[in-house]
Symmetry: D2
Amino acid sequence: MTYLPVTSARPEAVRVGLIGAGWMGAFHARSLSLRIPGADLVAIADPAIEAAQSLAAELGVARVTPDPADLFADPEIDAVVIAGPARFHAQLSIDAARAGKHVFCEKPGAVNLDELGRVEDAVAAAGVHWQIGFNRRYAADFLAARRDVASGAVGTPQLLRSLTRDPGSGSIPHAARVPRGTIFLETLIHDFDALNWYNSAAEPVSVHVTADALVEPGFKGAGFLDTAVVTVRYSNGAIAVAEAHFSALYGYDVRGEVFGSAGMVQAGRATATAAVRYGATGLSAETPRLNIELFADAYTAELADFAEHVRARRDGAAAPDHGVPLTPGLLDARRALAVALACIESAQTGLPAAVAGSSAGAEARA
Amino acid sequence: MTYLPVTSARPEAVRVGLIGAGWMGAFHARSLSLRIPGADLVAIADPAIEAAQSLAAELGVARVTPDPADLFADPEIDAVVIAGPARFHAQLSIDAARAGKHVFCEKPGAVNLDELGRVEDAVAAAGVHWQIGFNRRYAADFLAARRDVASGAVGTPQLLRSLTRDPGSGSIPHAARVPRGTIFLETLIHDFDALNWYNSAAEPVSVHVTADALVEPGFKGAGFLDTAVVTVRYSNGAIAVAEAHFSALYGYDVRGEVFGSAGMVQAGRATATAAVRYGATGLSAETPRLNIELFADAYTAELADFAEHVRARRDGAAAPDHGVPLTPGLLDARRALAVALACIESAQTGLPAAVAGSSAGAEARA
Amino acid sequence: MTYLPVTSARPEAVRVGLIGAGWMGAFHARSLSLRIPGADLVAIADPAIEAAQSLAAELGVARVTPDPADLFADPEIDAVVIAGPARFHAQLSIDAARAGKHVFCEKPGAVNLDELGRVEDAVAAAGVHWQIGFNRRYAADFLAARRDVASGAVGTPQLLRSLTRDPGSGSIPHAARVPRGTIFLETLIHDFDALNWYNSAAEPVSVHVTADALVEPGFKGAGFLDTAVVTVRYSNGAIAVAEAHFSALYGYDVRGEVFGSAGMVQAGRATATAAVRYGATGLSAETPRLNIELFADAYTAELADFAEHVRARRDGAAAPDHGVPLTPGLLDARRALAVALACIESAQTGLPAAVAGSSAGAEARA
Amino acid sequence: MTYLPVTSARPEAVRVGLIGAGWMGAFHARSLSLRIPGADLVAIADPAIEAAQSLAAELGVARVTPDPADLFADPEIDAVVIAGPARFHAQLSIDAARAGKHVFCEKPGAVNLDELGRVEDAVAAAGVHWQIGFNRRYAADFLAARRDVASGAVGTPQLLRSLTRDPGSGSIPHAARVPRGTIFLETLIHDFDALNWYNSAAEPVSVHVTADALVEPGFKGAGFLDTAVVTVRYSNGAIAVAEAHFSALYGYDVRGEVFGSAGMVQAGRATATAAVRYGATGLSAETPRLNIELFADAYTAELADFAEHVRARRDGAAAPDHGVPLTPGLLDARRALAVALACIESAQTGLPAAVAGSSAGAEARA
């Protein structure tokens, strides 16, 4: 061989441990292993050890454990991705931060504001990067819309809307086991973040909720909700509507719209591909069916951004600059959580509810 | 640490050498290194050695050489990607095949049918996998359209169209250096393949070309063409139109349409993202600007498919099955090349030209 | 001449008098004279007599008067179109009915439910046809959507939305003179009717309003509102959102959406024509600018339907049958008005407000 | 009554006689009677007298005759609409012109250029207005596209396309009786005019045709063609493609596209209304089914324009000015016919055919 010498300028990948090998965790694991060159998935923790082992085997990950603490204790791990149940998010973030690990946490950041306050304290004390899985920000169309807000093309936002309809078949098999508040804390929290992000010059002030169990009315008595419309009032007067539904027969439907004093921008893709069919009954096209299809690139991009942030911290380099506010952190987590918690209150009382002052609290901590 | 043991089920990546570190070669290199987990880019060959070294450094590729022969001689290389000038494609394919390397070759497979015949012989003798870079087949919308043909939703194809408009600024800086026939051999060959693929139950029989140098009329005397419309007649009566232009101010415009006895399907994406803006002058949206943007996923998918094929050969496993004809091989290269060569003749005479019998030749060799 | 004899089977047009020669009245006048063969505009009444005379001259209408009573007294007039200010609608309807004239009344039918009750009584006593100008029902896309609800393609409606954004330039010149409640009584009333019509198997039960003067904040103190979001709760559990804004820079934006247990349907046209332009900055298209452009056909269709109804009454023929509920009458006027009035209350209190029981009242009268 | 006096400023309608009460003639009759206030349909001539009588009765037209000569002799008739078989168009135009009647003639203007020359002579001698039924020019999207060419938004046209797919069920019942050349003389002539109109700064120079009987192959031997692709070369280098098919299962599909040095514009509407449905199998929408649905407004507009031209001649007023070339006259009829006739030649020889010099001939006559 007569190859010439090459000095690699390719940065070393960040080493990531995954906590939670469920559906979303497994998807993140595949992204980290297969689609994000800046990250290596090196360990998987899940008490459901078979799931962790199977995923690790599939991806060639050498380290598996039932206990997340093993990841925190591992000096070869730079960062963790937290994809377990929502009720564990805050404590896992705190433990990870204390161990000096950077954290990517699925939404919500915590299930109440006190918990999130403790995460904020731990992260601040440890000086680690903490990022939340508001993946919608990384979808090309939603980001293009945000850039239009930033450029002034929309003017001052006055009317906003964001909706999430999860795919379904007209029934919700495990409705009985869905925690109360899920539609606000785990589904609409994406919409609340999207709205807050689009209207980031203002604060959410109050909400009014109309919600019901229209898909599974039998579970409404137990507090289950599968359909919700939320009006959010912002400090700059803007009025936003967020809407969620748990069972759209035509697939996964996510849209956003910002109307302002200078124009409007819409995001959201109605079709799965650009192919359009014409037949005896008219025109037809495929619709997006799953979040991991519609947002495949967005899920990759949020983890790639995370890896870049971690690398910047590790290597003392500048954090990535996206030109517009993008990487969602603790303040974003707090704002969206505060809206979701106000919604739970409004859903119970039927009356408008105030959003706990997110900026005040956050500024006090900053 | 108390990690549990894991036996990796992840297959070993195929080791690929790249020949040609120009614009397209560099893009393929980044795909192989960063976006295709089943492939490792392990070596780069280019006589323009600085380009090769710079690319290798960027991607952490250890082996660089000015001479492709080094790649053929390297026992650690499973396969090569040929992305050099078209006039070298055939000989590089032949040399690679003789060295037992699997080949991914950018289009065209050769610049005439004799050359391609020698590639066919060498590939057949060596028993290697040979694949051509007809990336459009791997774009989600074009593939969905092909599936509609396969499913019968379109019926028997009767009218087809395919167009390629390259982005430009209204002039073509290096028009003088563009080889004659480029618009047919390097641009429209994508459209010819798309049409052949959509109408794969039939053979292209004859063509008629109308072409001109409308962007750079000063170079027409030297045989340069930047605008072309081609009518292709198929053995099942179907009539296809292929169209190319070298300078669309609004970006990269690629579309396909198949109309048949039962319906129609269209492919081609008019907008860069799903974001739509509304302002005082109306509605607006971004258009796709570059092939590597519009077809980013398709470029990745064709190389991932190649890696899967190579791995299947290496590991004695079944080749990937896509449900419809997908992976383009030598017969596809031959058919598209035969159409392109007939176009060169028709462009010179102004008369229809017969397409050299592709199936006959291919069957004789098979 | 050797023409053969013909016995005309063409029905005699109904003779219509117009009350109100303002902007909308003049548009209706032109529709009646020029676009609706089943109607003849024969008289115009408006205290602003110059406007009436000018319009009459333009259209060749022979009878002009400042006093609507002249129309009621005219035995050659079959029907009147009421297009004056909202506060006169009810009394004009009552007087017309008592004179035996059929009535087409612009929205709202009245400014409170008592007034509307008196209209109901007068119309019932006289046995005339009374129709309200909910023109959106007659737009091809909105009607197609309603047919999809009727066919079961949508299933049971669960989430609905309707929006109206009037075109504007970013300020509202006569904000000081706009009557309080206009955004609900004159703008959103179209959306309330659209929602009621889509979900006609149920009744609106309660509303919650968030509204503001975001375009003209200086007039908010005087009770002026230019931006509003309304949540409407229906007796079948469905949740609807209606939204209005008085100044969209990109033109006139009207949309509807019905999501149900079996699917979704959307109505609303984003572009003025099907022409799409591509240039250096991307794709662009014209947006609809005026209600009388976007809904030109719908305005014609509602009056043509009115003329058919009047003719059916006059000639003792069967009323037109549209296959789905279409022609909006007093019950529709009452339902939409009840929602608008509840909105005025909710806007003042900031709390949800009950919708006055429309079906109960209407049934009692029926 | 106390009505005030009004002096009508409404112009007297032009009095039109219809020749031909077939499908298209009946549609024009209804437009003239019901949708065009500037025209009165006063007489109908058709040798199939029952059709004429039935249509006259429906519309309240008093004069019916089997003989068009009665219309020419009638001093109360200002103008005629010729909607009989193509082979009679020229002689009817000549007779009408000689009688001093203005003429609206369905396409084609004649079946050969000599015939058309005689029409040109008669029209010039009589000084009447002669207009041809190229209705596509009056469709809002096609006209918007033409305005974009006029404004320079497209630059110099380089690539054009126009297609017509007639609705069908997969067979053509009366294929045996369709005159030879129909696809060029009666269908594609619309496309030829659209292309000529878009590229009106240049002349069509030559054509090349690929055509077949793919729907009804059994009639190909008798000269029947149901599928055709035409390439048209223009004097400014522009290359156009026109395409026609007689049996699209999904309805009536008409599109246009102009690509030039500064951009592109597309016309053609894919859906019947703006309503979009989403269900378990994806997104769907209705497609246009009939020319008289898709082009309803365009058919009305061309006759309204005709009426305005006739009225301008009658009243000595200025002809309507549309800002861009719009009203199609004899030169347009000649250009499109010359292209169609060249196509018939090319279809027979399989070779390119020259287009008879349209401007030369027309200028000689002018």
